[in-house]
């Protein structure tokens, strides 16, 4: 059953009075305007940056207010954008901001994780959802969804609500915090001074101006940072291991410990990439005080000095960087010790070697 139908079934049970209209397709640059134009208010509950930018842009162009809520792991964010809706390009006085005014560009793809990958505290997403519904009711009940005729309505500065379900949070545990978002940015690509020439419905529909996937770094071919001889495919590694062709070696898995705990290649040692990078940096900064080998996990001490090192990660990029860093630190003893990347990470391991592996 499609999620959208499952949701409607549940909602009808909860409240049979409203009319629920399913749109059983993915929201795309081609269909977004035709769908959104039929509604007065949009609630963004989507799970990826490309769709968030698309929705915000369409809301600017069609003059729809947007209540944007997001949550991942232990963090939630909620804000009301483009409300009351104001024509694109006006900057003669303060007007409500859009999503791009707040977040000019998306994080690099490696830094973006979905709830499916990174996990989510159900209370965080529940809280953000209820707060989002509350904002939506307020907007509709006070007619703030109606496009403002530029000069009449006063500017209402929106807040961005942050919620952190983190006992060790910098502020205090159980924290709500609201920050003032300011007004529309003069230089904003979607709603600023020159935006009517940079963002149009036709441009979005054509899929090129903007190209959301490209903007968010999606669908880019896998990066190859390392030369061929420093890489081995999961199946090559597996078969060499099975045939006993590999000498005793160290296998480092650079995924986060949560991912590692769901399953890993036999014998792998977990060294999360973030911690790995900071440790590298610390060693480089210390000059002669710390040796490059200090970066390696304790298991390395049980192996010979020149025992090969293999590195694997989730999708194959962090592991290549890790191999580069290890070489920079001289762990390869000027080429005497082999350090290799397992190409394509655990994703490729699942495809090539172990279809039962739980890839998340």
């Amino acid at each position: 059953m499609l999620k959208v139908n499952s949701l409607i079934t549940y909602l009808q049970d909860l409240n049979p009075l409203p009319t629920y209209i399913p749109h059983p397709h993915r929201l795309t640059p081609q269909n977004a305007a035709d769908i959104i134009t039929n509604y007065d208010l949009v609630l963004d509950c989507t799970d990826n940056a490309a769709t968030r930018y698309l929705i915000s842009d369409i809301c600017v162009l069609l003059q729809k207010p947007l209540v944007s809520a997001a949550a991942v792991q232990k963090s939630g964010q909620l804000t009301v954008l483009n409300c009351p809706p104001t024509p694109q390009g006006l900057i003669d006085k303060p007007y409500p901001p859009c999503y791009r005014c707040c977040f000019r560009k998306p994080p690099p793809p490696s830094a973006m994780t979905t709830c499916g990958e990174a996990g989510i505290m159900s209370t965080v997403v529940g809280l953000m959802g209820v707060a989002q519904a509350g904002e939506a009711i307020k907007i509709l009940a006070s007619n703030l969804h109606l496009p403002s005729s530029s000069s009449s309505s006063p500017f209402i500065e929106p807040n961005l609500l942050l919620y952190t379900h983190d006992l060790s949070s910098g502020i205090s545990p159980f924290t709500f915090r609201a920050v003032k978002m300011g007004s529309r940015k003069k230089t904003c690509f979607a709603c600023g001074e020159n935006s009517p020439s940079t963002l149009t419905l036709q441009g979005i529909k054509s899929g090129t101006a903007p190209n959301y996937d490209q903007f968010c770094g999606l669908n880019t071919p896998p990066k190859n940072l390392l030369p061929q001889q420093d890489r081995i495919s999961p199946s090559e590694y597996y078969h060499a291991l099975e045939k006993g062709e590999l000498p005793p070696h160290l296998l480092i898995d650079t995924r986060e410990k949560e991912h590692f705990s769901f399953g890993s290649i036999q014998g792998a040692v977990n060294l999360p990439f973030g911690a790995f990078l900071s440790k590298c940096f610390k060693i480089k900064k210390s000059g002669e005080d710390e040796k490059g080998d200090d970066i390696l996990p304790a298991e390395a001490k049980e192996l010979s000095e020149d025992a090969p090192i293999f590195v694997v990660c989730r999708r194959g990029l962090d592991s290549q960087e890790a191999v580069e860093k290890l070489k920079e630190l001289g762990v390869d003893r000027g080429g005497k010790r082999k350090i290799m990347d397992i190409r394509g990470g655990m994703k490729a391991w699942k495809e090539e070697v172990d279809p039962d592996f739980q890839f998340i």
């Binding site: 968030r52 949550a71 964010q77 707040c102 977040f103 998306p106 830094a111 502020i171 300011g182 230089t187």
Partner: protein, 91 residues
């Protein structure tokens, strides 16, 4: 977190900013021109500019500041609270 030490400001790291710095908050020397903030953090946490800061929202005393635009001439003062807020895009 408690009030900043004399001659310092507090900086709070949210979400991926806190995973990158492996801390939720710290105290840094003030005054500091806002335009120098990213450079200072990059020195302390290599790669943070590209991976976190450039896509984050920055606030000073709970108010959005435009690091690369209008806020360029601003100075972070002793006792200020700066926050690095990366977007959350999952749902």
């Amino acid at each position: 977190m408690s009030a900043a030490q004399v001659g310092h400001f507090n900086i709070l790291y949210f979400a991926s900013a806190s995973s990158y710095t492996m801390t939720n908050a710290e105290s840094l020397p003030a005054p500091l021109p806002l335009s120098k903030l990213f450079g200072l953090l990059e020195e302390r946490y290599k790669g943070i500019k590209q991976n976190v800061l450039e896509s984050s929202l920055v606030t000073v005393n709970l108010t959005y500041v435009d690091v690369e635009g209008d806020g360029e001439d601003m100075v972070i003062k002793e006792g200020d609270e700066v926050a690095i807020i990366p977007p959350v895009s999952s749902g």
